[in-house]
Structures are given as C-alpha cells and as structure tokens.
C-alpha cells in the first residue's frame, strides 16, 4: 500500500481501536494487524505522534505483577476520527474517479 495513504489509515485504525476501549501496545498490534500490515516499530511512532497531538493519553496499570502502558482516546482524538470518516466519503468519490466508474 502507498506509504502516505497507509500512514493516515494507520492513525485512524489506532484511534478507532481505542474508541472501542483502552488498550496496550501488544493488543493494539493484534487488533490492527488482522486488517493491515503493521509492525511494532511502525506502531511506536504512530502512538508517539498521536500522543503529541493530544489525540490519546497514556497511563500505567499493574498487570501480572508488572506495569503495562495503556492508551486511551481523548475527546480531541474522537473528533479527529470523525473528521477522518467524513473525509473518507470524499476519498471514495476520488477512488471511483480513479477507477473510471
């Protein structure tokens, strides 16, 4: 898949996954990798970028005697996801144009 296209889609996938509930690194990878190819080293920069943009927050919680970092979507993140979904309708139109339908 085109790198630029994939970047935007992956951001949305992470946010969509978090909208269903808070999650942690490994679980996010598992849920997204069923749809799209993603590795640990691609997920990390995405999480960092989304946190910096305040689309998600992090907290640590103990699990099996060790700390695990959890990610939670923010209101700003939910808003971003909505915008992405709205824009997608335009993308579909463009896609149809590209395909020549």
């Amino acid at each position: 898949m085109d790198a630029q296209l994939k970047k935007g889609i992956l951001d949305a996938c992470v946010l969509a996954s978090l909208q269903k509930g808070n999650s942690y690194g490994y679980m996010l990878l598992k849920s997204i990798s069923t749809l799209i190819d993603i590795s640990e080293s691609t997920l990390y920069p995405i999480l960092r970028r989304l946190k910096k943009a305040e689309y998600l927050t992090t907290y640590s919680s103990e699990n099996n005697g060790r700390l695990r970092k959890y990610y939670a979507i923010t209101e700003k993140g939910k808003e971003k996801l909505k915008i992405f979904c709205n824009e997608w309708q335009d993308v579909v139109k463009i896609f149809q144009f590209i395909k020549g339908e």
Binding site: Y24, G25, Y26, M27, L29, E40, S41, P45, R68
Partner: protein, 184 residues
C-alpha cells in the same frame, strides 16, 4: 538474542538520542516482548525474533526520531568539550594542530627566504652596474641577478599556492575525522 541483549542493542544504537526518548522506546519493547511471550507462549528468544530484524527496527525508530528533530544538537562548544573529554580525540587534535603549525612555519620560512633572496639578487644585479667597471662583469651580474629573481619569485608563488592547498587539506581531513567520530 534474549530480551536483555536486544534492549541493550537498542540502547547502544540509539545512544545519540535523548535519554528520555530512548527510555520510552526501551520500555515499549520490553512490554511488547513480555506480552508476546505471555500470549503466544514464546520464549524470550522467540519473542525477540518475532519483532523482525533489529537493524530494521533501529532504522524505523531512528528515522522517526530524526524526522521529529529530537536529536541532541551538537554545536561548536560541545565539539570542544568532546575533544577535551575524549582520551583518543585530544591527542589526535594536539598532533594535528602541531602538524598545522609545523607546515605553516616551514611555509613561512621558505616564502620569506625566497622572497628576500629574489629581491636581494635583483638589488645586487643593479648594484653591480656601479660596482664594476668591466661591461662583461656588469652584464653577468645583472643577468644572474635577474635569473635568480625570476626563479626565486617563481618558487615563492608555487610554495604559496601549494602551502595553502596543504593547509586546506589538513583542515578538511581533520574536520572529516571529527564528523565521522561524531556520527559513529
């Protein structure tokens, strides 16, 4: 590679980035490895292998950090501090500065002596007109003086040109070495 070795490898390869950022990455991979082991029933080694080639991980993570301009900026003052705190760089620097000075001194001595020598030959050639009564001796002295003036003047120009080039070369190679060391 077990988990400890892998995380140490990451830390080593990312040491030029901010410690806080690197710590975060280490924690991230530490957690992923533990979760992979737990969920897939993997050994540490298997979990590390499932992450892919360490070189590719470094490329991805470092690429992202560079893109975010999170590197520690190295300025002139830091280079100086680096030179003086490094057991290897300090002697190298002293040697190179000494070489620089020696080349400069030799260059200066040659230019001064050649320049004075050529001027002196010219002056002596002219002086010979008044010193000798014999036209043959006058012609010989003026001729030799002119030849010496032209030859030494030529040498002065050559030495200035190549001396300058040599000094530039030393400076550039020194700067390149510093840069390489910075990168390593």
């Amino acid at each position: 590679m077990n988990k400890k070795e892998f995380l140490e490898f990451l830390r080593k390869k990312l040491r030029r980035f901010k410690k806080l950022d690197v710590d975060e990455i280490i924690t991230y991979y530490d957690e992923i490895i533990l979760d992979t082991m737990q969920s897939e029933n993997f050994s540490e080694e298997q979990a590390v292998v499932s992450l892919g080639k360490p070189e590719n991980i470094i490329k991805d993570v470092a690429g992202d950090m560079i893109a975010n301009k999170k590197t520690n900026g190295i300025n002139g003052a830091l280079i100086l501090i680096g030179i003086f705190s490094s057991p290897v760089l300090l002697p190298i620097t002293i040697v190179i500065i000494t070489m620089y000075l020696v080349v400069f001194a030799v260059w200066l001595v040659l230019i001064v002596s050649f320049a004075y020598g050529s001027l002196a030959s010219l002056v002596w050639g002219i002086y010979a007109i008044f010193l000798y009564k014999d036209i043959g001796l006058i012609m010989l002295s003026v001729g030799l003086g002119l030849i010496a003036f032209i030859a030494l003047g030529f040498f002065t120009v050559i030495i200035t040109k190549y001396g300058w080039k040599l000094l530039n070369f030393i400076t550039v190679s020194f700067a390149t070495k510093l840069k390489r060391r910075k990168k390593a």
